[in-house]
Amino acid sequence: MVSGMATKQFKLPDVGEGLTEAEIVKWHVAVGDTVEINQTIVEIETAKAIVELPCPFEGVVSELLADEGVTVDVGVPIISVDVGGDSSGAEAVPREEVLKEDLVPDAAEEAAADAEPEQAKRQPVLVGYGVKPGATKRRQRKGGSVPGSGAGAEAGAGLAGAAHAAGEAHTGGATHATGAAHATGATGAGHPPPAQGGDPTLSVQCDTPPPSPTTEPVDNFSPLAKPPVRKMAKDLGVDLRTLRGTGPNGSITRDDVQAATGNGTTAPTPPAQTGPPVTAPSTEPAPHTPPVGDRVPLKGVRKAMAAAMAQSAFTAPHVTMFHQVDVTETMATARRLRELPDFADVKVSPLLLVAKALLVAVRRHPIANARFDGDAVVMNPSVNLGIAAATDRGLIVPNIKDAQSKTLPELATALKELTETARAGRTTPAAMSGGTITITNIGVFGIDTGTPILTPGESAILAFGQIRDLPWVHEGELAIRKISALALSFDHRVLDGAEGSAVLHDIATMLENPLQALAWT
């Protein structure tokens, strides 16, 4: 590497119309590699898709600025490439020269302007809507409509409000304690990329949520006000976040803004009207503010889980039934199966026999494998058996396609592949779609039973609890037996209580006496 070589940084772009972040899945290059324009350098996962990013420069990779598995905000540099040539002017990307000032007012920009008044050049804005607040900077108005100190005071007040909302003291916008990403965003505005990229981990490992591109950068709170009112407030130097709205839905009206100026202050004490408390006074913490805690942003799989579970729980009326079952014979059967050459290469787990029992029960009661579709119940032609899997990244439910047509060894193989793939984090979206019924093996967590939530679009889910040695009445006498518990949640729009009971009872019967499965297949 020649000293004085120019370095260019590639900032994470918004590759999907309005995305704000993406996870680094896999680097395809390492430090020292030579890269060409459009060579695939990294795979990222956004809320929409896994995509490969092509390199916009050619040169030698000098640094990878984000680790695999880390979620990075759009606009944060992820790789540095030595592009050769003279370092002077290397950062003078044409984009920067031609970009005009953004006209969107933004308190963070003002904070930035206050903190770094000499910085005038704007960062290149990545096309798309995922513009980082702080990537733009508002200019001063002429004629003192915003006093020289006003911008700072305004920004400071805004930040103070936010900090109090978080129940935390602070002294200045740029030192906002919890918002590493925000501080980066604020102070980074106008910096050349190396300054911002000096410690990229600062922002990518931050626990606070990324700033929403359209709301205030210091928290998620944005006061309701119509655009003309916002403009008026801006012209008068009134920070809307310090006001309490009296309009519909607590929105701030012209009168509220005018009242604020009448008080002769840019951060007036809120009027005494009842209404939604939109902000805390700027000088003392609100007494009802909950204690601050780390915010762990919902991302990727966990975000998907949250959405799927909420959708399912609030659209499908669930019923859950429980059944304790003596699985001593199932365990014995599993042992005997393991000795068969057919199972030499696969694992014969109790889960395998539970899966088989479920498949037999579905064959006897196909309704359990149906799905609700508005004005009809659709009988799925095949059983795509979902297996809930806990992975490092969260809950996923890949499914075994056409499970009903598989022999027991085939089913065991499919189960093995499914779990190994899930564990390795290589489960494809296709493997997770099209499921028709699910088993969740909560026994592995040492739990007896629970009330599972349906996988969206399915009508039944079976929870298989842990197997414990328990006292049990067996053939008229107390005995120590292997006992487990089954829980079946089902969509009551699809199955009635009798059908749900029959499914669960059939499964239990087969686990108590595996021979029964032979009779039913």
Binding site: D14, I37, L53, P54, C55, L103, L126, K142, G143, P429
Partner: protein, 376 residues
Amino acid sequence: MTIDSMRATPRPGEAADPQFVQLLTPEGERVEHPDYPLDLTPDDVRDLYRDLVMVRRIDLEAVALTRQGELGIWASLLGQEAAQIGSGRAMNEHDMAFPTYREHGVAYCRGVDPLNLLGLFRGVNHGGWNPAEHGFHLYTIVIGSQTLHAAGYAMGIQRDGVLGTPGAGAAIAYFGDGATSQGDVNEAFVFASVFNAPVVFFCQNNQWAISEPLERQTRIPLYQRAQGFGFPGVRVDGNDVFACLAVTRAALAQARDGQGPSFVEAYTYRMGAHTTTDDPTRYRHKADEEAWKLKDPIERVRSYLVRNGLADAGFFDSVDADAKTAARALREACLSLPDPEPGAIFEHVYAEPHPLMTAEQEAFAAYLASFEEVTA
């Protein structure tokens, strides 16, 4: 059940053995069709090959630029090059095309600078070319509405009284399989049919309307729909540039002669995502893509050229080099596209000066001027 066994019964909307006009097989063998004779010189074929390679390369560059944050979004034409080049090269100077937002290949044929297309998706212009100059309307984002524009334009041609003369042009409307479910498209069919308008409805059936498969659009092959509206429909191998050229030529010629509208279904496949914001692995099988890869529109022309000794390695290398150079130049030009002046938005709202617009423009200019200049 495997993919193959699922395929054993044809999906609705997909004939078991699609009967279509094909003049060049996927293996690059020339075949004849009684209704569509086509005489091409070796130069013609080489030019078509060059067109196909160029538009694929331009498209790839645009996808890469999107992935690098330089464009907001891009709808790739990958896999549909033959349908676009074949039909695009079938047009004459008087014809007018009404594209969707994916017709980069047609735009290329009509002499529209690809930089304009990139500018649109970079958000610095609204297309920026003069449709009348190129016989190529601005991109239409709303699904299917351009078919009505085309039908209306075609009815205008009728009223100009030029049909059947050498100066006659026709309209050609581009749309996809998904658009056939739109009300606008069906209305356009009705208007075109009952007024016998000189318009060709050129449907690139790429099998997917974003994530919705063809079977969610139709229960019969799409070209058969035309019969119900009262004009002819034909299905053409959309990955065969010769067939697309011949069939579109014939359809346009009929329209210019006053024989009314027709429907061309170019049976093809969208090899990429719907747009750069889409992830097709979520809804379709890799096996489908692999099967269509064997029908690649460029490979078959290349095979034909090689098979018949019409081009050597030097030719292919030079085309590739030209494509690479063009892509590089396009990239650089895209990166230095200027942002429009903030006031420019007011300039093209009305064709002529408009008092309200003038007032708003002045007020906006005054607002902008109210900021202090910042010294860098």
